[in-house]
Amino acid sequence: MTATAEPEIGKARTRKEDEHLVTGRTRWTDNLVLPGMQHLAILRSPFAHARITGVDTAAAREMPGVVAVLTGADLAEEQGSLPCAWPITPDMKSPPAPSLAVDGVNFAGEAVAVVVARSAYEAHDALEAIDVDYDELPVVLDLAAAAADGADLVHPDLGTNVSATWTFDSAEAGSGGDVEQAIRDAEVLVERTFRQQRLIPAFMEPRSVVVDPTGAQITMWSATQIPHILRLMLAMTLGIPEHKLRVVAPDVGGGFGGKLQVTPEEVIALLVARRLGKPVKYTESRSETMLAAHHGRDQIQKLTLAARRDGTVTGMKVELLADMGAYLRLVTPGVPILGAFMFNGIYKFPAYHFTCTNVFTTKVPTDAYRGAGRPEATFAIERMMDELATELSLDPLELRARNWITHEEFPFDTVAGLTYDSGNYEAATARARELFDYDGLRREQSERRERNDPVQLGIGVSTFTEMCGLAPSRTLGALAYGAGGWEHAAIRMLPTGKVEVVTGSSAHGQGHETAWSQVVADQLGVPFEDVEVLHGDTQTSPRGMDTYGSRSLAVGAIAVVKAAEKVIAKARPIAAHLMECAEDDLEFTAGRFRVKGTEKAVGIGDVALAVFAAHDLPDGVEPNLDSEATYDPENFSFPHGTHLCAAEVDTETGKVRIRSYVCVDDIGHVVNPLIVEGQVHGGLAQGIAQALYEEAVYDESGTLLSGSFAEYQVPSAADLPTFTTGRTETPATGNPLGVKGVGEAGTIASTPAVVNAVLDAVRRFGVRDIEMPCTPMRVWNAIHTAQGGAR
C-alpha cells in the first residue's frame, strides 16, 4: 500500500460522483421500475380556500388502467397530520395538516384525491373524471392584512391567522442594551420596510417517490434531502414501526432546502402502497412542484436603525411578519427565527430587539430555502447600512468599517446572543476592494453621473456573516427544535486495506463522496481512490441528521474525522503487537505505524488484514478495525465575506445588467477548492435571482401565476455574469479541520449586494427603495415615480 505524501485536503480533486452523472448512468428515483409497480397521479385543488362538499370518483374508477381512486376521507383514519418539528413557542397554533384534504382545502394545489393506475398516462387521464364539489371560502393572501384584527381566517377554528409571536430582546437576554432607549437617544434614525418576496426553490429534479411494501421492510426511495429525518417522521406520524421502514435517497437532483421536507406525496404514496400491497411510484410534473412543494422567504421586515452622526450604529429594532402559508410544514415556523440571530450581521451595535409574527395565508406553506432566515436577515442589515451611509454621506465601506467587529475582538459575543469564534472582515474587504477596483469604478460612476449617461453605474456592497454547521444540539433544544444537530459517521477498514466510510449526511450535489474521501485519505493515510463513501440509505447509513444549513462539512465530516481517530486508536495496540514493541514507541504517519527511530513499520492496511485473519491478536482485542462516531458541534461556524457588485442600470428601460461581481469569502480551511468554487457560483446565482428575477406571484383569487418555468424566471446562462472569486482563510476554531461551510454563503451575501448596486445607480433620481425582484418595470417605475413622472 502506498501512502499519500501530499495532503489531500486542499487539493482541487475532480469529483468521484461525476463519471456516472456525465454518462447518464444515474439512479434518479423516477428511473426505478419495480415488478407490478403502479403509478399515482394526484388531483389538486383549483381553489385557494374552499370546503369540499362531495367527491365523486365513480367515473374515474371505470377509466382504463385504473386500479383505485382514493380521497382524503378514504385515508382519514390512517393519514395522521404532516409533522412540524419546530414548535417555536409553547402556545404556537398549528392546524392539522392532512396529506390528502379531508374537509376542505387551504391553498390552490392542495392534494384532494389520488388515482392509482397501470401507467402514469392512464392515471393522469382519470384525474379528469373525478368530480369534486367545492364551496368557496374567502381567500387570505395579503400578509399584513391577514395579521390584522378582523381578517378573514384561514383556519376559523384557530380564531386567528397568527400562529405564533417570537421575541428576542438584548436587554432581556442580557446580551446588550435597551433598543427603545437607543432609538430615543439616536442622532439619526433610519426606518425602512422591506419585502422578502416569495421564492420557489426550483431544484431541477422534480420530486419523486417510489414505495415497495412487499419486503420484510417497507422501502421508500425518495428525492429527498433528509432520508433519516423522513424515516423517523413517517414512523412517528403514521405509526409504522421505525425498524420496518427503510428510506433511500438515491441520486437527488438538487434540494436547496426544497427537499428538506416530509411531503404529502411521500405520505400518500406510502399509504397507497401499503393498502394495495404493491409498489407504487409518484413523480410530479414541474407545474406541480411550483404549485405544491413548499416555497421560501415571504416576509415583511420593518426595521429601525439608530445611529450617531459619526456613523456608529447604536441599536436596531426588527419587526417581522412571516408568511407561513396554509400549514406549518417540517420547520416552517423556525425559518424566520433562524434569522433572528443574524440581523446584527458583522456589527457590534449594543442594542437589539427582534419580534416575529408568523401568519397563516391561503398559499402553499413556506419552509427552508437556501440560507433559511439568514438571507432575509443579511439583506435587511446590509440594506439598512447602505441607507445609513446615504443619510450620512459616507462611503458604504467606510460606514461598515466603523461598525464591524475587528479582527482583534474575536471571539466576540454578539448582541443576538451568539459567540462568533473567528473572523477577519478587514482582510476580506481589502481583498475584495482590490479585485473589484473599487476606486476605479467609483470614478467611472461619477463620470457617468456628470455626463447624465442614460446608463448609470451603481456599486453595491454586502459584508456578511452567517451561522452554519447547524447545529449544537443544546442550542437547538433551547430554540425548541424537535431534534439535535449531531452527525454520525462510521468507518470500516476492509481486509485489503480499502476503506468504507458511512456518513449520515445525505448529499444531493455537494460532492460528499469526493470531499469525505479526501478527509479520510489524510486521516488514515490511504489513497483517495481507496475510499468509498456510502450515504443516503437508512440501511447502509442507519444514523444521520442529513444535509441542510451548510452542516455537511462542518458537522458531518468532523464525525468522519472522529471515526478515523478511533480506527487508528484501535489499530495501534495491534500494530504494536505485530511488531513486538510498546504502543508508546509507535508513531502514525502517512498510513503507517512506525517504531520511532527505526525503519520498522506496518501499514494500516496490513493491520486490517492481520485483524481479519485474527490468527495472532493481543488478548481481548476485537477482530475488526471498524469504528463509529457521533459528533455534536459546540458552536456554529461563522463564514463571512465581502461581496461587491457593479450594476449598470439603463434609466430609459429600467434594465439592470451586472457588469462585474466580486466576492471574497472566508470559509476557513478548504477541503476541495473546486467544490467550494462551484458552491459559491451556484449560491450567487440564486441570490442574484432573488434580487433581479424570481418571484412567486398569486393572483387575487389565490391562483399561482408563476406556475412554470415560463413565468418563474430561473436565470439562464445568458442572464448571469462571470463571477470573480477570492478567498481569505480564517480557520474556524471550534472543529479540528478549521472548516466553516459554504453552501449558503453566496445566496446570503449576493441579494443585498445587487439591490444596493441598483439603488446606488438610481438614488440620484430620488429613488429610496425598489421592491425585489428589481425587474425592468419596477426599476423604470421607481425612477419615474421619484421624478414625479416627469422625467
Partner: protein, 176 residues
C-alpha cells in the same frame, strides 16, 4: 402506431400511442433513463437529445415524430468506456453538481459546438439559454464548453486545464 427509431446506434420498432412523448418513449419503453425530465413546458432543456443530428427537447417531440429517425442520447456518447470530450470537459471543469441538468447541457453543447466550433463566452451563454441549471451558476459550464471546443478542434487534451477554483486566490492574511 408502429414506429422504428434508431437510438444510440440500435434500431427499435415499437407500437406507441400517438400522444407518447419522445422522452417518455426513451425512458419508459427503452430504459434510456440518462435523459431526464425537468419541466412540462419545454423551458428547462433537461431532456435535450439529438434527433437526426440536431438538439431537440425530447419532451416537446412526439415519439411518432421520431419515426424513421436517428436519436442520440447522453448514453450514446462515450465509446468503450472513454468519455466523449464534452463529457470529459464537464467533469474536469466541475461543470455539474447534482448533475440533473447535465445530460441536457452536454447534448446542447454538442449542438452548439457543431455550429460554432470556437464560441466566445457570450456565444456560449446564449447558446445554452434554453437549458436551466440550478446548481452551478453556469460559470463552470461555460468554461467546460470552451474547454470542450478546444479539445474538439484538436487543441490537445486539456486534461489539466486550470479550473476557476485552482485559479482562485487565497490570501492567507486572515489566518489567526
Amino acid at each position: 402506431m408502429r414506429i422504428t427509431v434508431t437510438v444510440d446506434g440500435t434500431a427499435y420498432t415499437d407500437d406507441v400511442e400517438p400522444r407518447l412523448l419522445l422522452v417518455h418513449y426513451l425512458r419508459d419503453r427503452l430504459g434510456k433513463v440518462g435523459t431526464v425530465i425537468g419541466c412540462d413546458t419545454g423551458n428547462c432543456g433537461a431532456c435535450t437529445v439529438h434527433l437526426n443530428g440536431h438538439s431537440v427537447k425530447s419532451c416537446s417531440v412526439l415519439a411518432v415524430q421520431a419515426d424513421g429517425g436517428d436519436v442520440l442520447t447522453v448514453e450514446g456518447l462515450s465509446r468503450n468506456g472513454t468519455l466523449h470530450p464534452v463529457q470529459q470537459a464537464f467533469r474536469d471543469n466541475h461543470a455539474l453538481q447534482c448533475g440533473y441538468c447535465t445530460p441536457g447541457m452536454i447534448m446542447q453543447t454538442l449542438d452548439l459546438l457543431a455550429e460554432e466550433p470556437d464560441p466566445d463566452e457570450r456565444a456560449v451563454r446564449l447558446g445554452l439559454e434554453g437549458n436551466l441549471c440550478r446548481c452551478t451558476g453556469y460559470q463552470n459550464i461555460v468554461s467546460a464548453v470552451q474547454d470542450a471546443a478546444q479539445r474538439l478542434r484538436g487543441g490537445g487534451s486539456a486534461e489539466s486545464t486550470p479550473t476557476e477554483a485552482a485559479k482562485s486566490d487565497t490570501a492567507p492574511g486572515g489566518v489567526r
